[in-house]
Symmetry: C3
């Protein structure tokens, strides 16, 4: 392990995001800019109880959606996103004991991300990032675990490790998290589609990472990050659609269950076979048990036997089953429909759905009724109603501006 030089200064000439994804269970935070205009990134190790992060988080972090979902903070404990709309961003890494499992990712204004790398490569990564921001191509010879591209508000994230059956290794999870979170509060993003390269959507965790040799702390980290990614899908302000064409097992099945919507081809199958390798699918069961009836979940979990796409539809694990040749079209139809609505209205609706569903009926109505009134106060809320009454198409601002108080 090579120590990080105490002061790496990187100058980003454009709008850029800088992620620090810390694999080991540490706390880290960025200071507000000092008199020299620098932010300081402090990383603390070995602390078992993370201090309350809300107070220490720089104001630059997170969008309004996280504000009323305090668990979202905890979820993103190990990822800090520094946005500098324009001009110079200087990052100070003061800690010299960076773990080898730490990774640094950076992405430019277009949401194109730089490969994650171990800290030994941090200089190179930052350099590559620098190049990217300048429009240069930074290749590092490795296949990207996930591929992201975005157009007209629709972000496609493709699990891109078909040789390893798109196993949700820690790197894959981190890469997926990074692709989900990148500029997630930007108005340009309206919906996310998660699909996969190859015949296996995802086979779940990488069992090689779960041996005694890796150690308990590493195992903990894997399930923490996995739970974080699964929860993140439900907590971000845009809908997430799983586009499934093949086998989805264990945490791969959990990923499908966690998405807001799932479109699957007829040949797709779903299973939780962990019990067969001595690792009961207990974390996948959190998502699957909340998606399908108990008896269905139980049979899947106890036998490990796959269910067909048809049965998955019947029991609510997926939203739609289509012939393979129509998968793209049907998924895009849903995605485009989301794009036709107002961003803050969808964001408010999604957050409220999950919030009220965790409450009793009466509390749920109190929550949802208040949100309806807030929704109506939005400029887009009133524009929608006006357009309806005037029999014309609405023109959304997609902003959170209010029409009335």
């Amino acid at each position: 392990m090579k120590p990080i030089p105490p002061h790496i200064r990187v100058v980003f000439p454009g709008r850029a995001s800088f992620h620090i994804a810390q694999m080991s269970p540490v706390n880290e935070f960025l200071s507000p800019p000092g008199p020299d205009g620098l932010r300081h990134c402090q990383t603390h190790y070995q602390e078992q109880q993370p201090p309350p992060r809300q107070q220490q988080l720089p104001p630059v972090f997170g969008g309004p959606h996280y504000r009323h979902a305090p668990e979202a903070f905890a979820m993103q404990e190990s990822m800090l996103l520094v946005k500098q709309p324009a001009g110079v961003e200087t990052l100070n890494l003061q800690d010299s004991s960076f773990s080898t499992r730490a990774s640094v990712m950076a992405e430019d204004a277009n949401g194109i991300y730089c490969r994650s790398c171990s800290t030994e490569q941090v200089d190179a990564a930052i350099f590559k990032c620098f190049l990217r921001v300048h429009g240069c191509c930074a290749r590092d010879g490795q296949t990207q675990l996930t591929v992201r591209h975005q157009k007209d508000g629709i972000r496609n994230i493709v699990l891109n490790n078909p040789k390893k059956r798109n196993a949700l290794s820690l790197s894959m999870l981190t890469s997926l998290r990074s692709d989900i979170l990148a500029d997630v509060d930007s108005d340009d993003l309206r919906v996310i589609i998660i699909s996969a390269e190859g015949p296996v959507f995802s086979s779940g965790h990488d069992l090689k990472e779960l041996t005694s040799a890796q150690g308990k702390e590493y195992h903990s980290r894997v399930f923490e990050v996995c739970s974080e990614v699964m929860s993140l899908i439900q907590d971000i302000p845009v809908p997430v659609i799983a586009k499934v064409n093949g086998v989805a097992t264990a945490a791969g099945c959990q990923l499908v269950a966690s998405c807001d919507i799932a479109v699957a081809t007829e040949k797709s199958t779903f299973a939780t076979p962990g019990v067969n390798v001595g690792l009961f699918c207990s974390t996948p069961a959190v998502a699957i048990g909340r998606a399908v009836p108990r008896k269905v979940a139980m049979e899947m979990l106890f036998t490990g036997a796959p269910i067909s796409a048809h049965d998955a539809l019947l029991h609510g694990l997926v939203s739609k089953v289509v012939p393979e040749e129509r998968l793209e079209e049907e998924t895009m139809a849903i995605a485009r429909r989301v794009c036709e609505s107002s961003r803050p209205v969808v964001a408010l609706g999604k957050a409220t759905f999950y919030r009220q569903m965790a409450q009793g009926r009466d509390a749920a109505y109190t929550t949802a009724s208040r949100v309806m009134v807030d929704n109506l106060a939005l400029r887009d809320g009133q524009e929608g109603i006006r357009a309806f009454l005037e029999k014309r198409k609405p023109v959304w601002t997609n902003s959170t501006e209010k029409e009335h108080e």
Copy 2:
């Protein structure tokens, strides 16, 4: 706005119910009869925190069913029901600053209700009510928003504004609430069927009521009353059946989801298209999210696309799908089956179902086990068992009398 004269005295010569449905967020209560035999209705305005009502409620209010469901009180905050089994009922309206949005409804012993009206018409309304109780016909030239008729224990409530697609305007909701609550604790009422006139079951809220011009307080009131009506359906002691023949959207779909049972024709469709007009169906989602799997709810909410009656059945939004020509017969078969059972047994069962479903398994069993023992102590509980053992039809008392302590 015409001030209400401080003392309107109305004499009802028969058994009568008198509703005061107050649209504005006020508190009001009826005093116990004074030395002059009068009850005083006091109305307070502008209070933000309603005082605890339980203590102030006159003993005449509510049946035993509301006693162990404290939320039912809050729900009916703005409606007080004064029953006078026989003789003279005198009502004193002491407040002179009645809002124009207030309405007064009265109904006679046969459950025939008097039209709601603005307070400017209060004298006339009370007069009409008076006439009704005397068997006269009080017509006011307006179409009734809901029509109610009751026979052999089965109450039919028909949404009766087909020109406006049976929009759940505040008046419609109030009228519906009134029809649901009227004599709801009477032994004569065994089951309620909610249906609609015209090709649209209900299109949800009236968007004209949700503009900035109406103002935030009015919006709040709309969703409060709507949530109240939806909850009421589940909290009253008799089953409520939705009889759907057509389109049910937004709060109209919520109404179907809120009913205990729903019978729909094959052509019926269900949607939550609020997102298309910039108003995400967050309150409908409270009922729909508790009726269908999450993935189904999410796709409906994010896309606004309708689902067929078949899919609604598949996912639990309706109980039965029938050809149009069999809708009446199938709905009545269920209603009549309810009428064949003992009223207090059904009431106990319904209340317990919703109560235990909100609890964890062990607490639910404690609740339900106690109720079973209470149920067995009822005269009708023992009669049912005796009849079964003696191989004869049971003869219900339909009373809450006990066979043993």
Copy 3:
């Protein structure tokens, strides 16, 4: 009622279990062995509030699975299981005022149980038990209410009172409980199948036990024990499969809903007809309401009408519907599949599933993530992964030994 002699000493020459199932609401506990090597069984009557049992329970009671499910203790309040792996077991019954409704059951090392009996017969029962352990056949002329046999890890429990439509009388429930709990923590037991003799799976409670003549306390006891058995099915460490070929009504339907998995034949039907005999199926609704959509549960409960096996499958009440001739095969296929996996892995997974499902999403992920890490620390957890990576069949220890801390 004949008083129990203060000191009955019974010597079991083999490994044996001794159950004391106490029907009346009493507290009882066994002392740790005294200097004379005897355990004392103390029975307290008339106490309304049971004292905290955890502290008083002898270490011999219960397996590790009960340790982290405190409700399981309360559940088994009236049953104490004394295991003596080998040698002499002497039981001291010091209380002379045994209730007539108490029963004593004993079973030998092969899990063959001795008939339950009233306390008047206690001497005889213990004597028979003694005979059984010595390999003699103890017949008492009565048909056994449940029949249990176990082979290759698969325990079959057959409801065996077809003449009474396998009514879940208190004796039947007690017998079923005894069959479920017998040696439930033994590694020899991997899965339980509950089936029934005759065309009726079970018709629910025995209505003759629910008359006023029996009294409120007895009714309470019936529903307590019933709730206990239903909960027990979900709380024990092995999966329980209902194998249904016929009618399952009321508590019989509840039994199917409570099992982890249910395989039913096409001709099977399911109903909650209590409302027809004046006893609303409120306790069955606890299990059924958690298995099927609300609208389905409500229609079943309010009308009492049966649903087909097909509809039961559609709505999640059963896991699989098969032709009658394939019932045995399909059920055994699932059971054998369970036997192929590691016992502690299945036990951990089952307990975690129910635990996390009662929590909110974030707490559920915290629970399940910890369990995954614990699962990986098991010798069998690591063996499974090794076998997978080495492409061979795993060889389970089926013990809770750890590979790493």
